[in-house]
Amino acid sequence: MVLVKKLVLDVLKPHQPNALEFCKALAEVGDNYSVNLMVIAVDEKTESVQIVVEAPSIDFDALQAVINKMGASLHSIDEVEVNNPSVDT
């Protein structure tokens, strides 16, 4: 089974919830989720952010659902790291 280990996402979000609350909500998607957010550009009502998510196995659909729930929209997936661990027999 292919596991998604790292994602770099380009996201447009409203100012509220703020970056800290946004990252916390993303990290709550699963155990051992590490989330890094960097603000790229700030507009009157929105901000473009780059989000780096790292976890042993990222649930992308759940991640996208949280992004949408927070009123943000995913613009692009800029970087992906996946892993297909060997199964011992």
């Binding site: 447009l12 409203p14 507009d43 949408n68 729930k69 009123g71 929209s73």
Partner: protein
């Protein structure tokens, strides 16, 4: 606990904490001054039965509560919808499934509840000496005078609360609101006393 966190989150994304506080103080003050005015009016009139005083004041308190709930709900819903439409325009996306749309549904209800309950609860507290007297409990003062004292105390406490949130002296802020109440009482004595 989960519900409280959700409410806190909705207030945060809509930045409604200040609005709720403002509504609480403004309408609470309205309720307290209305009761003060009514009770002083009864005090200056020919002695009325306590039930008459109670019913008149209770009627005004309920009307203030309903007015607070309905006016805040209508105005807050309009404001929140407008804010959501502007955000959707900026995001160039439909936000109906987001927490922001949830806030449009819930925040006006919560704000309306605070706006309506503040004058109602404060009015009921002011009327409590009348209720105690009606239950046959002996009071150290006349129930109307005691109600006026409770009203002045609550108005002072609203000022203290304002002082606490604005970070200025609680005593000064409390005395400021108390002066407003005393000026109101003086005006009532001047104009209704004859």
């Amino acid at each position: 606990m989960k519900l409280l966190q959700q409410v806190k989150f909705l207030f945060e994304i809509t930045r409604s904490h200040g609005i709720v506080r403002r509504y609480f103080v403004v309408n609470g003050f309205d309720g307290a001054l209305t009761m003060l005015g009514l009770i002083i009016g009864f005090q200056l009139s020919t002695a009325a039965d306590l039930t008459v005083v109670m019913n008149a004041c209770l009627g005004a308190a309920i009307a203030l509560g309903v007015s607070g709930v309905s006016s805040a709900y209508v105005s807050e819903t309009a404001e929140r919808r407008r804010a959501l439409a502007k955000l959707e325009e900026a995001m160039v996306t439909d936000l109906q499934a987001s927490a922001h749309a949830e806030a449009v549904r819930w925040v006006p209800m919560l704000v309306a509840l605070v706006n309506g309950s503040a004058p109602l609860i404060i009015s009921l507290l002011i009327l409590s000496p009348l209720w105690l007297a009606m239950q046959g409990i002996s009071l150290p003062l006349s129930p109307l005078y005691l109600a006026i004292l409770v009203a002045l105390l609550l108005i002072f406490l609203l000022g203290v609360f304002l002082g606490h949130i604005s970070g200025v002296s609680w005593l000064r802020s409390g005395l400021q609101t108390l002066v407003v109440a005393l000026v109101t009482s003086l005006l009532i004595y001047l104009f209704a006393g004859y």
